[in-house]
C-alpha cells in the first residue's frame, strides 16, 4: 500500500513514470451519449445558388429505390456536390381491397409497402441544376417516382414521432 500511495514523481530521475501501464492497454472508446435529434438550420441559398434541396425517391420496390438512392449519392460525390444527409423516410403500408365481381364483399388483394429515400444536397449552382436533373432523369429506374424540392421545417417534422400529450397540453394552455 505504501508503494501505491506514493505521490512523489522524481521527474529528473530516469525512473520517472515507472509503474505506468495505462498507455499499454488498448484505447477505450468513450461511452456514446444519445445525441439529441435537433433540426439543423435550413440554408435558404443566395440568388445564384440553391440552398438545401431534397431529392425524394419513392417506390414500392425496396431494393430498387435503395440502389437508386446510393447511385444518386455517389453521383453527387463524383460531381463534388455537397451532400448534407442521406436518410430514409418511414415506410407506409397500405392494403389494397377490390370488390368481387359477384358479391358485395371486399376481397383482400395485396399489402403494398411504399418506401422513400431522401438525399439532401446543398450548394447547387443555378447553371448546373438542370444538368443534374437531366442526368438523374435519364437514369431513373422503372416505378421510381422522383421528387425534388426545397427543404422545409415541415419535412423535418414529418420524420419525428407525434406527441399527442404535448399537443393536448399546449391546446389546453392557450
Amino acid at each position: 500500500d505504501a508503494l501505491l500511495s506514493c505521490h512523489r514523481s522524481y521527474r529528473s530521475r530516469p525512473t520517472h513514470g515507472i509503474g505506468k501501464f495505462k498507455y499499454l492497454l488498448p484505447k477505450e472508446v468513450p461511452k456514446k451519449r444519445k445525441e439529441k435529434v435537433q433540426m439543423k438550420e435550413i440554408n435558404a441559398g443566395t440568388e445564384y445558388q440553391y440552398g438545401d434541396v431534397n431529392i425524394q425517391m419513392t417506390s414500392y420496390d425496396l431494393c430498387l429505390v435503395e440502389h437508386f438512392a446510393q447511385y444518386v449519392h455517389r453521383l453527387c460525390n463524383r460531381l463534388s456536390i455537397r451532400v448534407n444527409e442521406s436518410y430514409a423516410m418511414p415506410t407506409k403500408t397500405s392494403e389494397v381491397l377490390f370488390l368481387e365481381e359477384r358479391g358485395s364483399k371486399m376481397q383482400l388483394d395485396a399489402v403494398l409497402t411504399t418506401h422513400q429515400r431522401v438525399v439532401q444536397i446543398c450548394g447547387l449552382s443555378s447553371t448546373f441544376a438542370p444538368i443534374l436533373l437531366e442526368i438523374i432523369q435519364s437514369n431513373q429506374p422503372e416505378g421510381v417516382h422522383l421528387l425534388m424540392k426545397q427543404h422545409t421545417e415541415a419535412d423535418f417534422k414529418s420524420r419525428l414521432k407525434s406527441r399527442p400529450e404535448l399537443e393536448e397540453l399546449l391546446a389546453e394552455m392557450s
Binding site: 434541396v53 403500408t93 392494403e95 417516382h145 406527441r163
Partner: protein
C-alpha cells in the same frame, strides 16, 4: 354569514386553479425536456422469422465450362458497363463545357442578359416525375372497383 361563504368559495377556487395551472406547467416542462425521437424505419429491422430458421439453400455444383462461361460473361458485362459510364461522364463534361462557352459568349454580347441567365430558376423546384413503366397502359382496360386503406403503424412518444 351571506358574505363569508361566497368569499371562501372564491379563495378555494382560485387556489385550486393556480395549483392546477402549476401542475400543467410542470408537466409541459417535463414533456418539452424530452427530445423528439425519429420514427423507427421498418426497412432496417430484419423480421425475426428470417434469422430463426435453420434451412439452408444448397446450390447445384457448376461444371467448369459453365463457370468459365459465367466468368467470361461477367467480364464482358463489366466492360460494357465501363464503356457506358465513360460515355456518360464524357457527355456531362461536354454539356458543362458547352454551357460555359455559351455563357462566355453571352457575357461578351450583353452583361444584363448574362446576369439574368445566371440567376436561379424559381420555377424549377418542386420538380416531380414518374419513372418509366415496363409496358404502356392497356387500351380499354376496366379495373375492378376497390379501395386502398393506409395501415401504417402510428408511433407516439
Amino acid at each position: 354569514p351571506c358574505r363569508a361563504q361566497p368569499k371562501k368559495k372564491k379563495k378555494v377556487d382560485v387556489k385550486k386553479e393556480q395549483a392546477q395551472k402549476e401542475r400543467m406547467k410542470k408537466k409541459l416542462k417535463k414533456l418539452e425536456k424530452a427530445a423528439p425521437e425519429l420514427i423507427p424505419i421498418e426497412d432496417f429491422i430484419t423480421p425475426l422469422k428470417y434469422s430463426e430458421s435453420n434451412r439452408v439453400r444448397s446450390l447445384p455444383t457448376l461444371s467448369p465450362e459453365e463457370s468459365e462461361r459465367r466468368v467470361l460473361l461477367l467480364k464482358k458485362w463489366c466492360l460494357f458497363k465501363q464503356k457506358q459510364d465513360e460515355a456518360e461522364k464524357k457527355a456531362i463534361k461536354a454539356l458543362v463545357e458547352s454551357q460555359q462557352e455559351a455563357l462566355k459568349e453571352l457575357r461578351l454580347e450583353s452583361e444584363e442578359l448574362f446576369q439574368a441567365a445566371i440567376r436561379r430558376d424559381e420555377g424549377l423546384f418542386p420538380f416531380e416525375r414518374d419513372g418509366p413503366r415496363y409496358t404502356p397502359p392497356l387500351p380499354g382496360y376496366d379495373p375492378p372497383e376497390g379501395k386502398c386503406t393506409d395501415i401504417t403503424k402510428v408511433y407516439t412518444q
